[in-house]
């Protein structure tokens, strides 16, 4: 059920503005549980999440392939499900299957025609796009002769056929070699320069980290994190001190009160503590991490280490990767358990 009420005027600035999108399959599988998400015009937005998190369902709802159970929101200023808007949206599905009897050029021209592009424009644009994705030499060969990487390139060109304002790509670098990935990355950056909005759903976190302005992490059908990569990682930045092997009591003595209630660390399970009200710390036997990003603030810590004759091998400001964020989002903070793949029914009320 799509609520077609007019959104607030601020929605006009978003290419995608989703509010409370839910999808329940067969009355029991809660694939999406109230997803709200905003994508600004002209940015590259990445959607991450484990298998079964609901990423593809969300993407398919945006392009009307899947019908939402409830959804409020807009795409390019029109309600979700508005067919006319899709003429301005390019889409590359995951595991796409283009008609095998068509050539690469015919694929681009055919799907551009379905997006209501006139004949002369689509012919001209097909040639330009084939050149853009490096497929001009194979333009007139049948799709059946293409490798996976070539199919992805033509698929990307197909998504751009109607010169869309919004491009939605589901696993665009799937099966593409490193050189091809770099080429696709360049195309995405080029599209952003042209003012288009790109929405990418991918498992390749390093890919997304290099091109995305903002990301959202979807876990269990809910948005676990959303924001720019810098915003999301800022809170997790820390100074890291690599030390010579240090006995646990020495560290405890060096930072009185910080690790009072912690047990000695074990490999892979660091002991966490607090240096003061605003600064967390963590020690795993060799590495000490403190939650400061200000160099001046960590000078007393260096002093404390030196006072206790601890040898500092290396010290650096560490910013967590998207992968770290991803795993953190996937991990239940109370149980420490990682989310299992696949959507499932929500827990019963009162169940733990």
């Amino acid at each position: 059920m799509i609520d077609r009420t007019i959104m607030s005027s601020t929605a006009a600035g978003y290419a995608i503005d989703l509010q409370n999108v839910t999808k329940i399959y067969h009355r029991r599988i809660h694939a999406l549980q109230g997803v709200s998400m905003q994508v600004n015009r002209g940015e590259i937005f990445g959607l991450l999440g484990p298998n079964g998190a609901g990423k593809s369902t969300l993407v398919k709802i945006m392009v009307t392939v899947v019908r939402p159970t409830t959804a409020r929101g807009m795409i390019l200023g029109h309600s979700i499900g508005h067919k006319g808007t899709l003429a301005r949206v390019g889409y590359l599905p995951e595991n796409h299957r283009f008609p095998r009897y068509l050539t690469g050029r015919q694929v681009i021209e055919f799907f551009s025609a379905l997006a209501k592009t006139d004949r002369s424009t689509r012919k001209k644009r097909a040639a330009e796009l084939l050149d853009l994705v490096g497929m001009t030499a194979w333009a007139d060969s049948k799709i059946s002769q293409y490798s996976k990487g070539m199919l992805q390139r033509v698929g990307l060109a197909q998504a751009l056929g109607a010169n869309p304002d919004l491009i939605i790509l589901d696993e665009p670098t799937d099966g593409v070699d490193p050189s091809g990935r770099r080429d696709i990355r360049q195309v995405l950056l080029h599209l952003r320069e042209q003012g288009a909005t790109v929405f990418i759903n991918s498992h390749l976190l390093s890919e997304l980290e290099t091109v995305c302005d903002r990301v959202a992490i979807l876990v269990g059908g809910k948005v676990a994190r959303q924001g720019s990569v810098d915003e999301l990682t800022a809170a997790k930045q820390c100074y890291q001190f690599e030390l010579e092997p240090t006995p646990w009591p020495v560290i405890v003595a060096a930072f009185p009160g910080a690790f009072d209630f912690g047990a000695p660390p074990e490999p892979g399970f660091p002991t966490r503590g607090k240096l003061d009200e605003n600064c967390w710390c963590e020690f795993d036997g060799l590495t000490l991490r403190v939650g400061h990003t200000d160099a001046a603030a960590v000078q007393p810590i260096i002093d404390a280490l030196r006072r206790n004759n601890l040898v500092i091998r290396r010290m650096q400001l560490v910013r967590p990767s998207l992968e770290d964020l991803f795993f953190e989002a996937m991990t239940d903070p109370t149980t420490g358990q990682r989310a299992l793949p696949g959507a499932r029914p929500p827990p019963l009320p009162g169940a733990r």
Binding site: T85, P93, P99, L114
Partner: protein, 371 residues
């Protein structure tokens, strides 16, 4: 319109890439060419270059035009187009929807600014295009053969295109429903063929029951007449015995009484059982598509248009005397009159109604489903 044209052009390219399309087209051409291979001379007939003398099959005894038209009707339509070519066409087109609905393929279409219903109907019509092209080619070839070899130019032959297409559409809509529902080509082909056999079976049973019913009706009428005459004879001999009692007269009375009793018993056995069963099958057939009757429509039209009443199968069958196991005459003529008396509106209207319901169901599944 641009989208519809793109879909139609794509359907053509799809058909063009399917080997089966060309195989059926080549077979159709071969069937038409085999008609052309037969020629008539005043002394006999020729197959390609071989002359065969025959006192019956020669241009003096047989009008070549009639021969080609009859062959076209009895083999070209009834055997080739209505059976083999249709089965091959079903096999070729059955994968149209399952392939279209495969994950990763349908997404590309549904994400375009075209409504699901329009997409579905355009794809459906594109499937029918396959058969229209096949029948069109076959009819054109047959038209040329009958014209050049038989000297009779019969444009009515082209009526086969819409009529056979209509007949195919009854089966194709069912094939599409199964294809949309299961997304399996194998299931679509098998169930469509099974459905075809089922409709044929219902038609055959209904026609057989109608024949039994008419035979029973005819026997009952005959028996009624017999009972009436026996009653008159019995009354006559009873009167004779009353006025002039003789042994011979008493024997006649006894004989007629016995025969009358036997006839009445036979008549009482005729409870109209076939009538009841026929009514049930007729009702079933009313809601089902009438595949055989639709193809027979073409024969009805062509026979009258081409002046082939004397060589039509019905005319041949009507002239034959037939009896059932009890030696009751089977009213073949009546049966054909009854079958031919069924209106085009009933045959086509109810069949198209069925097609509409099946298509609506398939379209509803297609439009409501998440892919």
């Amino acid at each position: 319109m641009r989208q519809t044209l793109a879909l139609i052009w794509d359907a053509y390219r799809d058909l063009n890439s399917r080997k089966m399309f060309w195989i059926v087209l080549i077979l159709s051409t071969l069937v038409a060419a085999s008609f052309a291979a037969i020629g008539f001379t005043p002394t006999g007939f020729k197959i390609l270059f071989w002359q065969i003398s025959s006192p019956l099959f020669n241009s003096k005894e047989l009008r070549p035009g009639d021969f080609y038209k009859t062959v076209f009707l009895n083999y070209g339509i009834d055997f080739w187009l209505a059976w083999l070519a249709t089965a091959l066409a079903l096999i070729s087109t059955a994968s149209l929807f399952p392939d279209f609905l495969a994950t990763g393929a349908v997404d590309l279409y549904l994400s375009k600014p075209i409504s699901r219903l329009r997409l579905f109907l355009t794809k459906y019509l594109c499937g029918l295009l396959f058969v229209a092209l096949q029948i069109g080619c076959f009819c054109t070839a047959s038209f040329a053969v009958i014209g050049f070899r038989g000297g009779a130019w019969e444009p009515g032959i082209f009526l086969a295109v819409p009529i056979v297409l209509l007949f195919f559409s009854y089966l194709f809509c069912f094939c599409v429903l199964v294809g949309v529902w299961t997304r399996s080509t194998v299931a679509a082909v098998l169930l469509a063929l099974l459905f075809w056999v089922f409709t044929f079976g219902v038609h055959f049973t209904e026609e057989t029951l109608l024949m039994f019913k008419l035979t029973e009706d005819s026997a009952a009428t005959r028996l009624d007449g017999q009972i009436k005459s026996r009653k008159e004879l019995l009354a006559h001999w009873e009167h004779v015995v009353t006025t002039q009692p003789t042994t011979r007269g008493s024997d006649y009375v006894t004989m007629y009484q016995s025969e009358l009793k036997s006839d009445r018993a036979k008549r009482d056995d005729m409870h109209g059982t076939f009538d009841r069963y026929h009514a049930i099958f007729y009702d079933i057939m009313t809601v089902l598509p009438k595949t055989s009757e639709t193809v027979d429509l073409l024969e009805r039209v062509l026979v009258s248009k081409a002046g082939l009443e004397h060589v039509s199968r019905n005319a041949q069958n009507d002239s034959q005397d037939a009896t059932d196991l009890n030696d009751n005459p089977v009213p073949i003529e009546k049966l054909h009159a009854e079958m031919n008396g069924r209106s085009v509106d009933w045959i086509v209207g109810t069949s198209v109604g069925f097609e509409g319901v099946v298509l609506a169901l398939a379209a509803w599944i297609f439009c409501r489903r998440d892919y």
